[in-house]
Protein backbone atom coordinates (compact mmCIF):
# COMPACT_ATOMS: atom_id res chain seq x y z
CA UNK A 1 0.00 0.00 0.00
CA UNK A 2 2.73 2.41 1.03
CA UNK A 3 4.67 1.38 -2.07
CA UNK A 4 1.63 1.96 -4.28
CA UNK A 5 1.03 5.45 -2.90
CA UNK A 6 4.71 6.28 -3.27
CA UNK A 7 4.51 5.20 -6.90
CA UNK A 8 1.41 7.32 -7.41
CA UNK A 9 3.18 10.30 -5.87
CA UNK A 10 6.12 9.78 -8.22
CA UNK A 11 3.81 9.63 -11.23
CA UNK A 12 1.99 12.77 -10.08
CA UNK A 13 5.30 14.57 -9.58
CA UNK A 14 6.47 13.55 -13.04
CA UNK A 15 3.21 14.78 -14.57
CA UNK A 16 3.53 18.09 -12.74
CA UNK A 17 7.11 18.47 -13.90
CA UNK A 18 6.14 17.82 -17.50
CA UNK A 19 3.32 20.39 -17.19
CA UNK A 20 5.67 22.95 -15.68
CA UNK A 21 8.10 22.66 -18.60
CA UNK A 22 6.02 22.12 -21.72
CA UNK A 23 8.04 20.72 -24.59
CA UNK A 24 8.37 23.37 -27.20
CA UNK A 25 10.08 23.36 -30.55
CA UNK A 26 13.41 25.17 -30.33
CA UNK A 27 14.18 24.85 -34.03
CA UNK A 28 12.98 28.38 -34.87
CA UNK A 29 15.25 29.74 -32.10
CA UNK A 30 18.14 27.67 -33.45
CA UNK A 31 17.62 28.83 -37.03
CA UNK A 32 17.27 32.49 -36.02
CA UNK A 33 20.46 32.24 -33.98
CA UNK A 34 22.41 30.64 -36.83
CA UNK A 35 21.10 33.20 -39.34
CA UNK A 36 22.41 35.96 -37.04
CA UNK A 37 25.75 34.32 -36.29
CA UNK A 38 26.92 32.74 -39.56
CA UNK A 39 28.47 34.39 -42.59
CA UNK A 40 29.18 33.16 -46.10
CA UNK A 41 32.68 31.74 -46.53
CA UNK A 42 34.29 30.66 -49.79
CA UNK A 43 31.85 28.54 -51.78
CA UNK A 44 29.61 28.02 -48.71
CA UNK A 45 26.90 30.67 -48.91
CA UNK A 46 24.29 31.55 -46.31
CA UNK A 47 21.66 29.80 -48.46
CA UNK A 48 23.05 26.53 -47.12
CA UNK A 49 21.32 27.23 -43.81
CA UNK A 50 17.91 27.06 -45.51
CA UNK A 51 16.07 23.73 -45.36
CA UNK A 52 14.71 22.25 -48.56
CA UNK A 53 11.52 20.17 -48.38
CA UNK A 54 13.35 16.93 -47.52
CA UNK A 55 15.58 18.49 -44.85
CA UNK A 56 12.56 20.29 -43.34
CA UNK A 57 10.52 17.07 -43.08
CA UNK A 58 13.44 15.16 -41.56
CA UNK A 59 14.26 17.97 -39.12
CA UNK A 60 10.64 18.35 -38.09
CA UNK A 61 10.14 14.63 -37.45
CA UNK A 62 13.56 13.66 -36.02
CA UNK A 63 14.41 11.73 -39.21
CA UNK A 64 11.23 9.66 -38.91
CA UNK A 65 8.44 11.40 -40.84
CA UNK A 66 4.93 9.89 -41.17
CA UNK A 67 4.70 7.37 -44.02
CA UNK A 68 2.47 9.62 -46.16
CA UNK A 69 4.89 12.54 -45.94
CA UNK A 70 7.88 10.33 -46.69
CA UNK A 71 6.21 8.62 -49.67
CA UNK A 72 5.22 11.90 -51.30
CA UNK A 73 8.66 13.48 -50.92
CA UNK A 74 10.49 10.31 -51.99
CA UNK A 75 8.42 10.27 -55.20
CA UNK A 76 9.34 13.89 -55.89
CA UNK A 77 13.02 13.18 -55.27
CA UNK A 78 12.86 10.10 -57.49
CA UNK A 79 11.18 12.01 -60.32
CA UNK A 80 13.96 14.62 -60.22
CA UNK A 81 16.76 12.10 -60.88
CA UNK A 82 18.38 12.87 -64.24
CA UNK A 83 19.25 9.56 -65.85
CA UNK A 84 22.09 9.55 -68.41
CA UNK A 85 20.76 10.44 -71.85
CA UNK A 86 22.78 7.67 -73.50
CA UNK A 87 21.17 5.08 -71.23
CA UNK A 88 24.54 3.75 -70.09
CA UNK A 89 25.04 3.61 -66.33
CA UNK A 90 28.46 1.96 -66.10
CA UNK A 91 31.66 3.96 -66.55
CA UNK A 92 35.21 3.02 -65.60
CA UNK A 93 35.59 1.28 -62.23
CA UNK A 94 39.27 2.32 -61.92
CA UNK A 95 38.29 5.94 -62.12
CA UNK A 96 35.42 5.13 -59.74
CA UNK A 97 37.89 3.86 -57.15
CA UNK A 98 39.79 7.18 -57.29
CA UNK A 99 36.55 9.15 -56.93
CA UNK A 100 35.45 6.95 -54.00
CA UNK A 101 38.77 7.64 -52.25
CA UNK A 102 38.57 11.41 -52.77
CA UNK A 103 37.00 13.08 -49.73
CA UNK A 104 37.29 16.67 -50.89
CA UNK A 105 34.51 18.97 -51.89
CA UNK A 106 31.76 21.42 -50.94
CA UNK A 107 33.44 22.82 -47.77
CA UNK A 108 34.29 26.51 -47.51
CA UNK A 109 37.98 25.66 -47.88
CA UNK A 110 37.44 23.73 -51.14
CA UNK A 111 37.83 25.62 -54.38
CA UNK A 112 36.12 23.14 -56.68
CA UNK A 113 36.72 19.53 -57.63
CA UNK A 114 34.45 17.23 -55.69
CA UNK A 115 35.14 13.61 -54.79
CA UNK A 116 32.64 11.00 -53.70
CA UNK A 117 33.85 10.76 -50.08
CA UNK A 118 32.55 7.17 -50.30
CA UNK A 119 35.24 5.49 -48.16
CA UNK A 120 34.58 8.02 -45.39
CA UNK A 121 31.44 6.03 -44.57
CA UNK A 122 31.50 2.72 -46.51
CA UNK A 123 33.65 -0.36 -46.87
CA UNK A 124 33.99 -0.82 -50.65
CA UNK A 125 37.09 -2.36 -52.23
CA UNK A 126 39.03 -5.18 -50.52
CA UNK A 127 42.39 -3.34 -50.55
CA UNK A 128 41.28 -0.31 -48.56
CA UNK A 129 41.22 -1.00 -44.82
CA UNK A 130 40.74 2.65 -43.87
CA UNK A 131 36.98 2.87 -44.38
CA UNK A 132 34.16 4.34 -42.30
CA UNK A 133 31.12 2.61 -40.88
CA UNK A 134 28.43 5.31 -40.97
CA UNK A 135 26.92 3.55 -44.01
CA UNK A 136 26.64 -0.18 -44.79
CA UNK A 137 29.45 -2.19 -46.36
CA UNK A 138 29.34 -2.17 -50.16
CA UNK A 139 31.96 -4.90 -50.55
CA UNK A 140 30.78 -7.50 -53.10
CA UNK A 141 27.89 -5.17 -53.92
CA UNK A 142 26.81 -6.79 -57.20
CA UNK A 143 28.17 -10.24 -56.38
CA UNK A 144 25.60 -10.39 -53.58
CA UNK A 145 22.74 -8.54 -55.31
CA UNK A 146 23.20 -9.48 -58.95
CA UNK A 147 24.56 -7.67 -62.01
CA UNK A 148 21.21 -6.96 -63.70
CA UNK A 149 19.87 -3.72 -65.14
CA UNK A 150 17.57 -3.12 -62.18
CA UNK A 151 20.43 -3.30 -59.67
CA UNK A 152 22.56 -1.03 -61.90
CA UNK A 153 19.71 1.46 -61.90
CA UNK A 154 19.35 1.18 -58.13
CA UNK A 155 23.09 1.82 -57.61
CA UNK A 156 23.16 4.87 -59.91
CA UNK A 157 19.92 6.24 -58.49
CA UNK A 158 21.07 5.79 -54.91
CA UNK A 159 24.33 7.66 -55.61
CA UNK A 160 22.39 10.39 -57.44
CA UNK A 161 19.82 10.80 -54.67
CA UNK A 162 19.74 8.49 -51.65
CA UNK A 163 16.66 10.36 -50.38
CA UNK A 164 14.61 8.99 -53.28
CA UNK A 165 14.89 5.58 -51.58
CA UNK A 166 15.02 6.44 -47.88
CA UNK A 167 13.88 9.99 -47.16
CA UNK A 168 16.05 10.72 -44.15
CA UNK A 169 19.07 8.65 -45.15
CA UNK A 170 22.33 10.11 -43.80
CA UNK A 171 23.88 9.87 -47.27
CA UNK A 172 24.39 13.07 -49.28
CA UNK A 173 22.46 13.44 -52.55
CA UNK A 174 25.55 13.49 -54.77
CA UNK A 175 23.75 14.14 -58.07
CA UNK A 176 20.80 16.13 -56.77
CA UNK A 177 23.15 18.48 -54.90
CA UNK A 178 25.28 18.98 -58.00
CA UNK A 179 28.32 17.59 -56.20
CA UNK A 180 29.25 14.88 -58.71
CA UNK A 181 29.06 14.90 -62.51
CA UNK A 182 27.19 12.30 -64.52
CA UNK A 183 30.51 10.71 -65.56
CA UNK A 184 31.70 10.51 -61.95
CA UNK A 185 28.45 8.79 -60.92
CA UNK A 186 28.78 6.35 -63.83
CA UNK A 187 32.33 5.53 -62.72
CA UNK A 188 31.17 4.96 -59.14
CA UNK A 189 28.33 2.75 -60.39
CA UNK A 190 30.92 0.73 -62.31
CA UNK A 191 33.01 0.37 -59.16
CA UNK A 192 30.00 -1.29 -57.52
CA UNK A 193 28.57 -3.13 -60.56
CA UNK A 194 31.36 -4.12 -62.96
CA UNK A 195 32.09 -7.86 -62.68
CA UNK A 196 35.79 -6.96 -63.15
CA UNK A 197 35.79 -4.45 -60.27
CA UNK A 198 37.75 -5.60 -57.21
CA UNK A 199 34.58 -4.90 -55.23
CA UNK A 200 33.01 -8.00 -56.76
CA UNK A 201 35.93 -10.40 -56.42
Amino acid sequence: MRLASAALMAIAAALLASCATPQRDYRPDAVAMMMRDFHAMGIAGMDRLNEDSVQAACNQHQDNPPQGVADKLQKEQSAAIKWPADGRLLGDWKSGERIAQDGRGMTWSDKGGVGGSCYNCHQIGPRESSFGTVGPSLYQFAKLRGYGADIQRYAYGKIYNAKAYNLCSQMPRMGHAGALTEQQMKDLTALLMDPASPVNQ
Partner: protein
Protein backbone atom coordinates in the same frame (compact mmCIF):
# COMPACT_ATOMS: atom_id res chain seq x y z
CA UNK B 1 65.71 24.63 -24.16
CA UNK B 2 62.99 22.69 -22.38
CA UNK B 3 60.68 23.61 -25.20
CA UNK B 4 63.09 22.31 -27.82
CA UNK B 5 63.45 19.05 -25.89
CA UNK B 6 59.70 18.64 -25.55
CA UNK B 7 59.06 19.32 -29.21
CA UNK B 8 62.01 17.14 -30.27
CA UNK B 9 60.82 14.12 -28.31
CA UNK B 10 57.32 14.77 -29.60
CA UNK B 11 58.53 14.71 -33.20
CA UNK B 12 60.37 11.42 -32.65
CA UNK B 13 57.41 9.79 -30.96
CA UNK B 14 55.05 11.06 -33.64
CA UNK B 15 57.28 9.81 -36.43
CA UNK B 16 57.34 6.39 -34.76
CA UNK B 17 53.56 6.39 -34.49
CA UNK B 18 53.17 7.53 -38.10
CA UNK B 19 55.08 4.46 -39.25
CA UNK B 20 52.57 2.16 -37.58
CA UNK B 21 50.84 0.57 -40.57
CA UNK B 22 47.24 0.84 -39.41
CA UNK B 23 47.09 2.86 -36.19
CA UNK B 24 43.98 2.10 -34.16
CA UNK B 25 42.30 4.33 -31.67
CA UNK B 26 43.62 2.16 -28.84
CA UNK B 27 47.19 2.62 -29.99
CA UNK B 28 46.72 6.35 -30.18
CA UNK B 29 45.28 6.41 -26.67
CA UNK B 30 48.43 4.69 -25.35
CA UNK B 31 50.55 7.18 -27.26
CA UNK B 32 48.50 10.05 -25.88
CA UNK B 33 49.00 8.80 -22.33
CA UNK B 34 52.77 8.90 -22.78
CA UNK B 35 52.65 12.30 -24.44
CA UNK B 36 50.41 13.84 -21.80
CA UNK B 37 53.14 13.33 -19.21
CA UNK B 38 55.02 16.11 -21.01
CA UNK B 39 52.26 17.89 -22.84
CA UNK B 40 53.22 20.91 -24.99
CA UNK B 41 49.86 22.39 -23.89
CA UNK B 42 51.68 23.37 -20.70
CA UNK B 43 53.71 25.93 -22.66
CA UNK B 44 50.48 27.66 -23.65
CA UNK B 45 49.16 27.37 -20.11
CA UNK B 46 52.21 29.32 -18.86
CA UNK B 47 51.87 31.89 -21.64
CA UNK B 48 48.17 32.26 -20.80
CA UNK B 49 48.91 32.88 -17.14
CA UNK B 50 51.37 35.65 -18.09
CA UNK B 51 48.73 37.20 -20.34
CA UNK B 52 46.10 36.92 -17.60
CA UNK B 53 48.24 38.96 -15.20
CA UNK B 54 49.71 41.47 -17.66
CA UNK B 55 48.33 44.99 -18.04
CA UNK B 56 47.41 45.18 -21.69
CA UNK B 57 45.18 46.79 -24.30
CA UNK B 58 44.07 50.41 -24.80
CA UNK B 59 42.90 50.50 -21.17
CA UNK B 60 46.20 49.09 -19.88
CA UNK B 61 44.36 46.66 -17.58
CA UNK B 62 44.94 43.10 -16.42
CA UNK B 63 42.31 40.38 -16.72
CA UNK B 64 42.53 39.60 -13.03
CA UNK B 65 39.16 41.33 -12.48
CA UNK B 66 37.50 39.22 -15.17
CA UNK B 67 34.43 37.43 -13.79
CA UNK B 68 34.38 33.89 -15.15
CA UNK B 69 31.18 33.15 -13.26
CA UNK B 70 32.52 32.55 -9.76
CA UNK B 71 33.25 36.20 -9.00
CA UNK B 72 35.86 38.70 -10.31
CA UNK B 73 39.29 37.13 -10.51
CA UNK B 74 38.25 33.60 -9.48
CA UNK B 75 39.81 31.23 -11.99
CA UNK B 76 39.94 27.99 -10.03
CA UNK B 77 37.07 25.72 -11.04
CA UNK B 78 35.52 28.29 -13.38
CA UNK B 79 36.16 26.39 -16.64
CA UNK B 80 34.41 23.24 -15.35
CA UNK B 81 31.31 25.37 -14.67
CA UNK B 82 31.01 26.96 -18.10
CA UNK B 83 29.22 27.65 -20.38
CA UNK B 84 26.98 29.68 -18.07
CA UNK B 85 24.69 32.71 -18.14
CA UNK B 86 26.30 36.13 -17.58
CA UNK B 87 23.90 38.92 -16.68
CA UNK B 88 26.26 41.70 -17.85
CA UNK B 89 26.20 40.26 -21.39
CA UNK B 90 22.68 38.81 -21.09
CA UNK B 91 23.72 35.59 -22.78
CA UNK B 92 25.27 32.22 -22.10
CA UNK B 93 29.02 32.19 -22.77
CA UNK B 94 31.58 29.44 -23.06
CA UNK B 95 35.00 30.05 -21.52
CA UNK B 96 36.66 31.54 -24.59
CA UNK B 97 33.66 33.74 -25.40
CA UNK B 98 33.83 35.04 -21.82
CA UNK B 99 37.56 35.73 -22.08
CA UNK B 100 36.94 37.65 -25.31
CA UNK B 101 34.20 39.60 -23.51
CA UNK B 102 36.64 40.49 -20.69
CA UNK B 103 39.36 41.49 -23.17
CA UNK B 104 36.85 43.86 -24.76
CA UNK B 105 35.28 45.34 -21.62
CA UNK B 106 38.31 45.43 -19.28
CA UNK B 107 41.20 45.93 -21.70
CA UNK B 108 39.46 47.78 -24.53
CA UNK B 109 40.23 45.42 -27.40
CA UNK B 110 37.63 45.38 -30.18
CA UNK B 111 35.74 42.30 -31.30
CA UNK B 112 36.90 42.94 -34.87
CA UNK B 113 40.59 42.65 -33.96
CA UNK B 114 40.06 39.57 -31.77
CA UNK B 115 37.91 37.82 -34.39
CA UNK B 116 40.16 38.65 -37.34
CA UNK B 117 42.42 35.58 -37.02
CA UNK B 118 41.08 33.74 -33.99
CA UNK B 119 42.64 30.32 -34.63
CA UNK B 120 46.19 29.05 -34.20
CA UNK B 121 48.64 28.52 -37.03
CA UNK B 122 52.12 26.95 -36.73
CA UNK B 123 53.57 30.44 -36.43
CA UNK B 124 50.96 32.21 -34.31
CA UNK B 125 48.81 31.36 -31.30
CA UNK B 126 46.11 33.98 -30.66
CA UNK B 127 46.06 35.32 -27.10
CA UNK B 128 42.54 34.04 -26.24
CA UNK B 129 43.73 30.49 -27.06
CA UNK B 130 46.60 30.71 -24.53
CA UNK B 131 44.28 32.38 -22.03
CA UNK B 132 41.60 29.70 -22.29
CA UNK B 133 44.31 27.03 -21.93
CA UNK B 134 45.41 28.68 -18.67
CA UNK B 135 41.85 29.00 -17.41
CA UNK B 136 41.03 25.39 -18.36
CA UNK B 137 44.09 24.10 -16.52
CA UNK B 138 42.76 25.62 -13.29
CA UNK B 139 39.85 23.13 -13.45
CA UNK B 140 42.05 20.07 -13.86
CA UNK B 141 40.66 17.12 -11.90
CA UNK B 142 37.31 18.79 -11.25
CA UNK B 143 33.83 17.57 -12.04
CA UNK B 144 32.21 19.14 -15.08
CA UNK B 145 29.10 20.96 -13.89
CA UNK B 146 27.82 23.42 -16.46
CA UNK B 147 24.87 25.06 -14.68
CA UNK B 148 21.24 24.70 -15.80
CA UNK B 149 19.69 26.97 -13.16
CA UNK B 150 18.98 30.19 -15.06
CA UNK B 151 16.08 29.99 -17.57
CA UNK B 152 18.44 31.21 -20.31
CA UNK B 153 20.85 28.37 -19.51
CA UNK B 154 18.06 25.85 -20.01
CA UNK B 155 16.81 27.58 -23.18
CA UNK B 156 20.37 27.71 -24.52
CA UNK B 157 20.78 23.96 -23.92
CA UNK B 158 17.58 23.31 -25.91
CA UNK B 159 18.66 25.67 -28.69
CA UNK B 160 22.03 23.91 -28.79
CA UNK B 161 20.22 20.58 -29.01
CA UNK B 162 18.22 21.90 -31.99
CA UNK B 163 21.38 23.23 -33.68
CA UNK B 164 23.05 19.85 -33.12
CA UNK B 165 20.21 18.06 -34.93
CA UNK B 166 19.59 20.63 -37.69
CA UNK B 167 20.19 19.10 -41.12
CA UNK B 168 20.86 21.46 -44.00
CA UNK B 169 23.47 22.42 -46.56
CA UNK B 170 24.95 20.76 -49.62
CA UNK B 171 25.23 17.31 -47.99
CA UNK B 172 22.16 17.37 -45.68
CA UNK B 173 24.42 17.00 -42.64
CA UNK B 174 23.76 17.90 -39.02
CA UNK B 175 26.19 17.39 -36.14
CA UNK B 176 24.17 14.25 -35.40
CA UNK B 177 24.92 12.82 -38.86
CA UNK B 178 28.34 11.91 -37.50
CA UNK B 179 27.80 12.13 -33.73
CA UNK B 180 24.30 10.77 -33.16
CA UNK B 181 24.82 6.99 -33.16
CA UNK B 182 27.05 4.49 -31.38
CA UNK B 183 30.15 2.75 -32.76
CA UNK B 184 30.53 4.68 -36.02
CA UNK B 185 33.72 5.78 -37.74
CA UNK B 186 34.77 8.17 -40.51
CA UNK B 187 37.60 6.27 -42.21
CA UNK B 188 39.44 4.98 -39.09
CA UNK B 189 38.44 7.87 -36.84
CA UNK B 190 35.94 6.77 -34.16
CA UNK B 191 32.91 9.05 -33.80
CA UNK B 192 31.59 9.56 -30.26
CA UNK B 193 27.81 9.72 -29.86
CA UNK B 194 27.43 13.09 -28.16
CA UNK B 195 23.76 12.56 -27.38
CA UNK B 196 24.82 10.07 -24.67
CA UNK B 197 26.36 11.33 -21.40
CA UNK B 198 29.08 8.70 -21.17
CA UNK B 199 30.30 9.61 -24.68
CA UNK B 200 29.62 13.37 -24.54
CA UNK B 201 32.65 13.72 -22.27
CA UNK B 202 34.74 13.19 -25.40
CA UNK B 203 33.56 16.57 -26.72
CA UNK B 204 35.06 18.22 -23.63
CA UNK B 205 38.01 16.03 -22.60
CA UNK B 206 41.39 16.96 -24.02
CA UNK B 207 40.28 20.49 -25.02
CA UNK B 208 41.90 22.90 -25.29
CA UNK B 209 44.29 20.50 -26.98
CA UNK B 210 47.73 20.46 -28.51
CA UNK B 211 47.02 19.06 -31.96
CA UNK B 212 49.78 16.95 -33.45
CA UNK B 213 48.49 17.54 -36.97
CA UNK B 214 50.22 20.84 -37.65
CA UNK B 215 51.62 21.13 -34.13
CA UNK B 216 49.25 23.84 -32.90
CA UNK B 217 47.24 24.62 -29.79
CA UNK B 218 43.51 24.63 -30.45
CA UNK B 219 40.45 25.44 -28.36
CA UNK B 220 36.84 24.30 -28.64
CA UNK B 221 36.05 27.47 -30.61
CA UNK B 222 38.29 26.09 -33.36
CA UNK B 223 36.88 22.58 -33.03
CA UNK B 224 33.28 23.77 -33.49
CA UNK B 225 34.35 25.96 -36.42
CA UNK B 226 36.02 23.04 -38.17
CA UNK B 227 33.02 20.77 -37.56
CA UNK B 228 30.76 23.30 -39.31
CA UNK B 229 33.27 23.46 -42.17
CA UNK B 230 33.11 19.69 -42.60
CA UNK B 231 29.33 19.83 -42.24
CA UNK B 232 29.46 21.96 -45.43
CA UNK B 233 27.84 24.88 -43.61
CA UNK B 234 28.87 28.54 -43.90
CA UNK B 235 31.13 29.83 -41.11
CA UNK B 236 29.88 30.54 -37.58
CA UNK B 237 30.99 33.80 -35.98
CA UNK B 238 33.90 33.50 -33.54
CA UNK B 239 32.70 33.40 -29.91
CA UNK B 240 29.11 33.67 -31.19
CA UNK B 241 25.97 32.53 -29.36
CA UNK B 242 25.62 29.61 -31.79
CA UNK B 243 28.98 28.19 -30.73
CA UNK B 244 28.20 28.79 -27.04
CA UNK B 245 24.82 27.07 -27.45
CA UNK B 246 26.36 24.04 -29.10
CA UNK B 247 29.02 23.87 -26.36
CA UNK B 248 26.29 24.17 -23.73
CA UNK B 249 24.51 21.16 -25.21
CA UNK B 250 27.71 19.09 -25.34
CA UNK B 251 29.04 20.12 -21.92
CA UNK B 252 25.78 19.68 -20.02
CA UNK B 253 25.50 16.21 -21.56
CA UNK B 254 28.94 15.50 -20.04
CA UNK B 255 28.10 16.93 -16.60
CA UNK B 256 29.29 14.91 -13.62
CA UNK B 257 32.41 13.52 -15.27
CA UNK B 258 35.93 14.59 -14.35
CA UNK B 259 37.82 17.08 -16.52
CA UNK B 260 41.49 16.16 -16.89
CA UNK B 261 42.77 19.53 -18.14
CA UNK B 262 44.25 20.65 -21.48
CA UNK B 263 45.25 17.62 -23.53
CA UNK B 264 46.67 16.22 -26.72
CA UNK B 265 44.76 15.65 -29.92
CA UNK B 266 45.55 13.91 -33.13
Amino acid sequence: MKRALVLGSLAVAWAAAAQTPDPTAAEFDKFREIMEQDNPAELFEVKGEELWRARRGPKNAALEQCDLGLGPGVVKGAYAQMPRYFADADRVMDAEARIVHCMMTLQGFTYAELAKQPFSSPTRTPEPVSLVTYVAAQSRGMKISAPQDHPKERATYETGNAIFHYRAGAFDFSCASCHGADDKRIRTQPLPNFTKPEQAIRAVQGWPGYRMTGGVMHSLQWRMNDCFRQQRFPEPGYASETVSALLTYLTVNANGQVYRGPGIKR
